[in-house]
C-alpha cells in the first residue's frame, strides 16, 4: 500500500480522535450513574423524543411517503400486518388472509373490535377507502402508491372481510402492507381533505396526534382505548406513557447534548462519533436497528461511458478501498456489507470474494479497456477523454462520516487513474443531476420490506428514457435475463423457488460490478437508562413506544 494512502487515513483518524477526546473530556462532568432499575413498569409521564430526520411536511404517510413520516406515523397508525423478530408476517389489524391459486384474489379477515380514535369503526370499507386513497393521484403518494400498484379493486365482502382483486400475482403484497406507508387511517379523517389530514391523521394506534407546532414539536397523547397491537406484542393494554413530545432537533451535536442534559429521553440518527462517546460514558443505551430494503451502496452508472464497459466497472471496484475508512470513520459502528440488500433481509445474498481490492488488477483492466494515457496527475484518458467519474452527493442524505468515506473512495480510485469528482449538493440539485444523467457514481438509500426492492432498483423498467422524472434504477442496469428473474420472483409464492430466483438476480447484479455495497442503512437510537421497554419494529426499524415506560 503506497505511503500517501496510509498517511491520509492516519490524518483523518487523528483529527477525529482528537475531536472525540476533547468532547469526551467536556462530557465527563455529567456522566450519571446508569441505574438500570428493571422493576415493574411505571405508568404515566411524557416521553421526549428528538428526531434528526427532516420534519415531515405532512403527518399522513400516504402523502409522499418517506422515512421521517414512517418514524412518527408508527405511533398513531397501525398496519394490516406486521413482522416478528424472525421477519415472518404476523397479524395486526388483519387477523388472517388467504390467496387464490392464481394469486389474483386475496381475502383479508379483519379485527372486529377496533375503532379509530374519532369513533369511526375499523372495517372492510375502511380498508377499501385507504387503498383507494393511496391510488388516487391527488394524494401525491409515491411509496405507498408503488406498494398497492397491482391492486385493481377492493371488494367489501362483509364488515370483517375485504377481498382484493389484483392485476398480477404479487408475492410482495404482505410485505407491502407491513410498511407504515400503507397504514390504515380513518376514512372520515381522510374525507376532511389533505390539509386537515396532514396536520393530524386519525388512526387506531397507541397514541393520538394532539398538536403540531411547526419546526418545534408534535404532541402525541395516549389512546386510552388502545388494545391489541401486532401479534408479537405480548401485551394487550394501552400505553404506559401519558404521551410523547416529538421534537425536531436537526443538529446532531445539539441532539446529543440535549440527551445528555436530560432535556430529551431518546434521540434518533445518533452519529458514529456520538455512539463511540456514549459507549465510553456508559450512561446511555443504544439501539442498533438497520433499515430493511437495500444496503447503502455506490451505484455505477452503466448507461453511458465509461461504466458501460464492465472492465472499467471492475477496475473501479478493485481500486477502491473502503474497509479501513468504514472502520475509522464510523468508529466500528457500521459493518461492511457485500450485498445489495440490507443484512436484515433473510434473502440477502452476499459475496465478499467479488469485492477484493487489487490495484495491479485495476490498472491491468483499465489498460485493457484502452484507458492507457496518463496525465501529470496520473489521471487516465482514452482518445483524449479523461477518466472522470462525476459523483453528486446529497448532503441531506449522506452523513458527515459517509461524506468523508467518499473522499477516501476518491483518493484510492485516483491511484488507478480515476478522477472522481465529488459534488456535494442539496437534495433538489441532486435529483437534478440524476435526471440530467450527469453522474457516473451515486449513493441513494431505499427502504422497503423484502427483496422486491431489487425490482424497483434494478429492473430496466425503472430507467426512464426521457430526462423528465426520477428513476430508481440509478445503476441503469438493463439486462433482459435479470428483468425476467425479478418479474418472476415478484409473482412466485413458493418460498424456496422465490429465494432461488432472488439469489440468481443478486448474483447478476453483484457479478456484473454494478454496485459497490458499503454497509446497511444506519439507524442508531440512543436513550437514557430510565427509558425502558422500547423496541425497534422489525418492519422498517421505527421505534415502538406502546410498551415503553420512564423509570425513576
Amino acid at each position: 500500500m503506497p505511503a500517501s494512502r496510509s498517511r491520509r487515513r492516519l490524518a483523518a483518524l487523528a483529527a477525529s480522535s482528537i475531536a472525540a477526546v476533547a468532547l469526551a473530556a467536556l462530557a465527563g462532568c455529567t456522566a450519571a450513574d446508569p441505574s438500570t432499575s428493571s422493576g415493574a413498569p411505571t405508568e404515566g409521564g411524557t416521553l421526549v423524543y428528538a428526531t434528526g430526520d427532516a420534519e415531515p411536511s405532512c403527518l399522513d404517510p400516504h402523502v409522499g411517503g418517506n422515512y421521517p413520516q414512517a418514524l412518527i406515523a408508527g405511533q398513531y397508525l397501525e398496519s394490516l400486518v406486521s413482522l416478528d423478530e424472525s421477519r415472518e408476517v404476523v397479524p395486526w389489524l388483519a387477523t388472517g388472509w388467504t390467496v387464490s391459486d392464481d394469486g389474483l384474489t386475496w381475502e383479508f379477515t379483519l379485527r372486529d373490535d377496533v375503532s379509530f380514535t374519532d369513533g369511526t369503526p375499523f372495517d372492510a370499507a375502511a380498508v377499501k377507502a385507504n387503498i383507494e386513497h393511496l391510488q388516487d393521484p391527488a394524494t401525491q403518494s409515491s411509496t405507498g402508491y408503488l406498494a398497492v400498484g397491482k391492486i385493481a379493486s377492493v371488494e367489501v365482502v362483509s364488515d370483517t372481510v375485504a377481498r382484493l382483486h389484483l392485476t398480477a400475482p404479487d408475492s410482495a403484497l404482505l410485505e407491502s402492507f407491513a410498511q407504515p406507508w400503507t397504514a390504515i387511517q380513518s376514512p372520515a379523517g381522510i374525507a376532511r381533505g389533505m390539509d386537515a389530514n396532514c396536520q393530524a391523521p386519525i388512526g387506531t394506534g397507541p397514541f393520538v396526534v394532539e398538536e403540531w407546532v411547526a419546526q418545534d414539536h408534535v404532541s402525541l397523547v395516549r389512546n386510552d382505548d388502545y388494545h391489541g397491537g401486532p401479534a408479537d406484542r405480548g401485551r394487550d393494554d394501552a400505553a404506559y406513557l401519558d404521551g410523547i413530545e416529538w421534537r425536531f432537533i436537526p443538529d446532531s451535536a445539539s441532539r446529543y447534548a440535549a440527551l445528555q442534559a436530560g432535556e430529551v429521553d431518546i434521540i434518533d440518527n445518533a452519529q458514529p462519533d456520538t455512539l463511540a462517546q456514549a459507549d465510553e460514558g456508559g450512561a446511555l443505551v443504544e439501539i442498533d436497528a438497520p433499515r430493511p430494503g437495500a444496503s447503502n451502496r455506490l451505484e455505477l452508472n452503466a448507461g453511458q461511458a465509461p461504466f458501460d464497459d464492465e472492465r472499467v466497472r471492475e477496475a473501479f471496484i478493485r481500486a477502491v478501498d473502503v474497509n479501513d475508512g468504514i472502520d475509522s470513520l464510523f468508529f466500528g459502528t457500521a459493518e461492511r456489507s457485500y450485498s445489495a440488500l440490507s443484512s436484515v433481509e433473510p434473502l440477502a445474498y452476499a459475496d465478499e470474494s467479488l469485492f477484493g481490492t487489487d490495484l495491479d488488477a485495476a490498472n491491468a483492466l483499465l489498460d485493457e479497456a484502452g484507458w492507457t494515457e496518463r496525465d501529470a496527475d496520473g489521471i487516465r484518458s482514452k482518445d483524449g477523454v479523461p477518466l472522470v467519474l462525476r459523483f453528486p452527493v446529497s448532503t441531506n442524505q449522506s452523513i458527515p462520516a459517509e461524506q468523508s468515506l467518499f473522499e477516501q473512495v476518491q483518493a484510492t480510485a485516483k491511484e488507478a487513474g480515476f478522477d472522481v469528482r465529488i459534488e456535494p449538493v442539496d437534495l433538489s440539485s441532486w435529483y437534478g443531476a440524476l435526471f440530467a444523467n450527469e453522474y457516473e457514481l451515486v449513493s441513494a438509500p431505499y427502504t422497503k420490506i423484502g427483496p422486491d426492492v431489487l425490482r424497483i432498483l434494478y429492473h430496466s423498467d425503472s430507467i426512464t428514457p426521457a430526462p423528465s422524472g426520477y428513476f430508481a434504477n440509478l445503476a441503469q442496469l438493463s439486462d433482459p435475463q435479470l428483468d425476467a428473474l425479478l418479474t418472476e420472483a415478484a409473482s412466485e409464492s413458493e418460498p424456496a423457488a422465490r429465494a432461488a430466483l432472488y439469489e440468481q438476480a443478486q448474483q447478476i447484479i453483484l457479478g456484473g460490478f454494478h454496485a459497490l455495497p458499503l454497509y446497511d442503512q444506519q439507524n442508531h437510537f440512543l436513550h437514557s437508562a430510565g427509558l425502558q421497554g422500547v423496541r425497534a419494529m422489525p418492519t422498517v426499524s421505527t421505534p415502538w413506544f406502546a410498551d415503553a415506560w420512564l423509570a425513576g
Partner: protein, 318 residues
C-alpha cells in the same frame, strides 16, 4: 407651494424606493432559485426515500404551474405579489403568509434581543478600549477583532459544550423557557458586538480629539463623563445607521443558530424551503426580511436624527 409639498415628495420617493427594493429582491430571488438545478416536483412528492411515479410528477407540475415557461411563472408570481398574495407552500401545502406568520415572532425576538445585547457589549467594549492605558486598548482591540471574526456555528457548538454539557447551567436546545434563549442570543450577539465596537472605537477616538472635548475638560468634566455624555453620541451615529444592516445580518445568522439550537423560526424555514425548492416560501421569507430591512432603515434614520441634531435642521444630509 413647492415648499408645502416637500415632505410629501420625500415620502413618495421613500415609498417608491422601498417598492423598487422589494421588486428587485423578488426578481433576484426568483431567478436565483431557478438557476440552481433541481426539481421542485420531486421535493414536493416526499424527498429522500420516496420515489414518485411519472403520473404523480406530471400532476404536481400541472397543479403548481411548474410546466409553464419560466417567464410566465415569473409574471404569475408578480401578479400574486401585487395583490398581496404570497401563494401556497409547495411542501407544506399551507398559505405562505401563515407559514411565515407562525415563525416571524420567534426570529424577530431572537434578532432584536441579540441586537440589544450586541449594543450593550459594543458600548462597553468601545468605552473600555478608549479608556486611558495601553493594556485596555490592546486587549479590547484583540477581543473586538476576535469576536467579529467568530463563525456562528463554532461559537454555538462551544457554548453548548461549555454551558450545557460541561457546566449544566443552560439547556442546549430551545425549551420554551427564557433560559433557552440565552445561548442563541449570545451566539448571535458576540460577533456583531465585536463589529459594532470596532466601528464605534474609531469614531470615539476621533471625537475625543475634537475641540469640544478640550473645552469640556476645561469645564472640569472627568474623562469617563466626556466619553459617556459627549463622545459616545458622535461615535454611535455610524453604528446606529448600521443597525438596519445588522438586523439583516442577524436574520441570516438565524439560519445557523435556529438549526443548532432547534429553535423554530424564519431562518430554519428559509433553509428548508431552499433545500426543497419551495419557491413561494423562499420568496415570502426574503420579502418579509426585505420589508423589515426597509422599515428599520427608516427607523434608524429617525434615531440618527435624534442623536445628531444637524440631520434634523439642515434637512440635507449630504
Amino acid at each position: 407651494m413647492a415648499r408645502a409639498s416637500r415632505p410629501l415628495r420625500t415620502f413618495a420617493l421613500r415609498l417608491g424606493g422601498a417598492v423598487f427594493v422589494l421588486w428587485a429582491v423578488a426578481t433576484l430571488t426568483f431567478f436565483a432559485i431557478h438557476l440552481v438545478p433541481g426539481d421542485p416536483a420531486q421535493a414536493i412528492l416526499g424527498g429522500p426515500g420516496s420515489q414518485a411515479s411519472q403520473e404523480a410528477l406530471d400532476r404536481v407540475r400541472a397543479d403548481y404551474g411548474l410546466d409553464q415557461p419560466l417567464l410566465a411563472q415569473y409574471a404569475a408570481m408578480l401578479g400574486r405579489l401585487v395583490t398581496g398574495d404570497l401563494g401556497t407552500s409547495y411542501s407544506l401545502k399551507t398559505p405562505v403568509a401563515a407559514v411565515i406568520g407562525g415563525q416571524l415572532v420567534g426570529t424577530l425576538t431572537l434578532a432584536l434581543l441579540a441586537l440589544v445585547v450586541a449594543w450593550a457589549l459594543a458600548i462597553g467594549l468601545a468605552l473600555w478600549s478608549t479608556a486611558p492605558g495601553r493594556t485596555a486598548r490592546a486587549v479590547s482591540g484583540a477581543v473586538e477583532l476576535t469576536a467579529a471574526a467568530l463563525p456562528h456555528f463554532w461559537l454555538a457548538t462551544v457554548l453548548i459544550a461549555v454551558f450545557s454539557t460541561g457546566l449544566g447551567w443552560l439547556p442546549p436546545v430551545a425549551n420554551g423557557a427564557a433560559s433557552g434563549l440565552v445561548l442563541p442570543v449570545i451566539t448571535l450577539a458576540v460577533p456583531l458586538a465585536g463589529f459594532l465596537a470596532q466601528l464605534m472605537r474609531e469614531h470615539l477616538l476621533d471625537a475625543l480629539e475634537q475641540p469640544f472635548t478640550v473645552s469640556a475638560l476645561a469645564r472640569g468634566e472627568t474623562g469617563a463623563g466626556i466619553r459617556l455624555r459627549h463622545a459616545l453620541r458622535h461615535a454611535a451615529i455610524p453604528a446606529v445607521h448600521l443597525s438596519g444592516w445588522a438586523v439583516g445580518y442577524l436574520i441570516s445568522g438565524a439560519v445557523v443558530v435556529e438549526t443548532i439550537f432547534a429553535r423554530p423560526g424564519l431562518g430554519r424555514t428559509l433553509l428548508r424551503a431552499t433545500e426543497l425548492r419551495d419557491v413561494p416560501v423562499v420568496m415570502g421569507v426574503v420579502l418579509v426580511v426585505a420589508v423589515v430591512y426597509v422599515v428599520l432603515t427608516v427607523v434608524t434614520d429617525v434615531v440618527a436624527g435624534v442623536a445628531d441634531p444637524r440631520l434634523r435642521r439642515g434637512g440635507s444630509t449630504a
